[in-house]
């Protein structure tokens, strides 16, 4: 027995069993097991940021050398463009004022007016096929607080869907990307009364940078090039967030019509993203409660 306890293989086996148990336990809602990794995060996150910054600096420096002539040309063209845009801006400011007046008058509702939008930078990306969540530098202290079972949409700078926040700590959050097998969102063709279906990540399509549309009504005609946006069904994602365009449609099985979608957002090229958090309006009830508490 004493010999067994000293055996390195016995120790390794016990450690592996404990780790497997911890991995399964971490899947339970509100599991405290994940907190064991907090000290590691505290030490490694600043170091990783430093390495990333150093890498970016080297890349930028190299680009500055190789693209020097092109940049000068671009700079000249941009200066001309700035002058042109300044003129357009003056015109647009006037138009914006008119739009605000009309919006109030006609009660036009902005698509995303019920959401507060937070900016965040990508800290780390997927490290391989299976370790595939993305880490952002915004957490609970920045207003990204996530209740169990809740989630927030994540968009790129052009407001295209990137994924959704599935976990947040004090200073960081983790995003499930659009191409991940576990991702699902209700989508529709971007037209009035467009038909709705499910857009999901798929392991085989992921390597081609595509996702899958399923649960499509066989009577509906879809064709490549059609734009797909979120439908708003389910309440998690607001209606109208651009997802991508249809690449292929498969009508071979009428009971299971599917389509492949090429997402607009290219996660590998993103540096900054936006998190949409529903704006919690103060209801009459909460206002009354607050008044009572003050009284």
């Amino acid at each position: 027995m004493k010999k067994l306890l000293k055996s390195k293989w016995f120790i390794a086996l016990v450690v592996l069993l404990l780790l497997a148990a911890c991995a399964v336990l971490s899947l339970l809602p509100g599991s405290p097991v994940k907190k064991a990794l907090s000290p590691v995060q505290l030490v490694t996150s600043p170091a990783q940021s430093l390495v990333k910054r150093a890498g970016d600096t080297i890349t930028d420096f190299w680009s500055a050398i190789t693209d020097g002539i092109a940049i000068r040309e671009e700079n000249r063209a941009l200066k001309e463009q700035i002058a042109d845009l300044r003129y357009q801006l003056t015109q647009s400011e006037e138009a914006a004022l008119r739009y605000e007046e009309l919006k109030d008058a006609l009660h036009i509702k902005d698509t995303f007016s019920n959401y507060v939008i937070y900016g965040a930078s990508i800290l780390s990306r997927e490290s391989d096929e299976w370790f595939s969540t993305i880490r952002l530098n915004a957490g609970a202290v920045d207003g990204i607080e996530l209740a169990e079972g809740n989630s927030y949409p994540v968009l790129d700078v052009e407001m295209n869907l990137v994924g959704r926040v599935i976990e947040s700590s004090d200073t960081e959050s983790r995003v499930l990307p659009l191409l991940h097998e576990g991702f699902a969102v209700a989508g529709k063709v971007n037209e009035v009364n467009g038909v709705t279906f499910m857009v999901v990540g798929d392991a085989e399509l992921k390597r081609q940078g595509l996702c899958l549309a399923k649960d499509i009504d066989p009577d509906v005609h879809l064709e490549p090039g059609m734009e797909i946006v979120t439908s708003g069904d389910g309440g998690l994602f607001p209606e109208g967030i651009p997802i991508g365009v249809i690449e292929t449609v498969d009508y071979s099985n009428p009971l299971e019509v599917t389509a492949t979608i090429r997402p607009y957002s290219q996660i590998g090229k993103l540096e900054d993203v936006f998190i949409m958090i529903p704006y919690v309006e103060e209801t009459e009830e909460t206002a009354e409660t607050a008044e009572t508490a003050v009284g």
Binding site: L16, V51, G55, S127
Partner: protein, 211 residues
């Protein structure tokens, strides 16, 4: 007295060099994955580093470096898994499990019979990568069957052509610079000595027990 100093120096060198490599490789892996990707797969620098640490420097080096690298991986890019309740959740300790197992596998792959020679270390990397991929698919298949989501799993031929083979190629290529780092700028000094296993007994395996 001289032996004590040698051991202390070896310990300090080991901790410092491993710490630097772990931070650099783990950070590079998640900061610039596109620069080391091919055919939809990413070269796993940290995985290869752990396997080779075990292969060259012994069982406990592989185990401890694998454990630490696994924790860093679980912090930087943990996998998200579909739970049995249908909710996708970020997991913990899968990275530790994977890299700890990779470290001890690398350390036990004919290391003594082959005298930890450099060419055979490539075979160790290929074998461990093969085990990782096949084991990973088997676990995913088992778990997905339990969760009822078998539709998102690779077919065996697709997994072979688009996942296993590119990953084997990338990890083998990655192994070459890491072998040189570990042998010539590594945590254990082999300079001017021929009895590698003896050095590992003295500076490698035994060193951790004194920390």
């Amino acid at each position: 007295m001289r032996i004590v100093n040698e051991t202390t120096n070896a310990r300090v060198r080991k901790i410092v060099v491993y710490a630097i490599y772990i931070i650099l490789l783990s950070s590079f892996q998640v900061s610039f994955p596109d620069t080391i990707s091919l055919l939809g797969q990413t070269a796993d620098l940290v995985f290869v580093f752990v396997v080779l640490s075990g292969y060259f420097n012994g069982f406990w080096d592989g185990a401890i470096v694998g454990f630490i690298c696994g924790m860093v991986r679980d912090v930087f890019s943990p996998p998200a898994v579909l739970g049995l309740d249908g909710e996708v959740r970020v997991t913990a300790f899968i990275g530790v499990f994977t890299l700890f197992a990779a470290g001890i596998t690398g350390a036990s792959f004919f290391t003594k019979r082959m005298h930890r020679n450099i060419p055979f270390s490539i075979v160790a990397v290929i074998f461990t990568t093969f085990c990782y991929k096949v084991g990973g698919y088997l676990i995913i298949f088992g778990w997905s069957s339990m969760a009822g989501t078998t539709s998102t799993i690779y077919q065996p031929l697709t997994a072979l052509v688009y996942s296993l083979l590119p990953q084997l190629l990338l990890n083998t290529l990655t192994a070459i610079p890491i072998i040189f780092l570990l042998r010539f700028l590594g945590p254990v000094s082999f300079r001017g000595r021929s009895g590698r296993d003896e050095i590992i007994e003295k500076q490698g395996e035994g060193t951790w027990l004194g920390i």
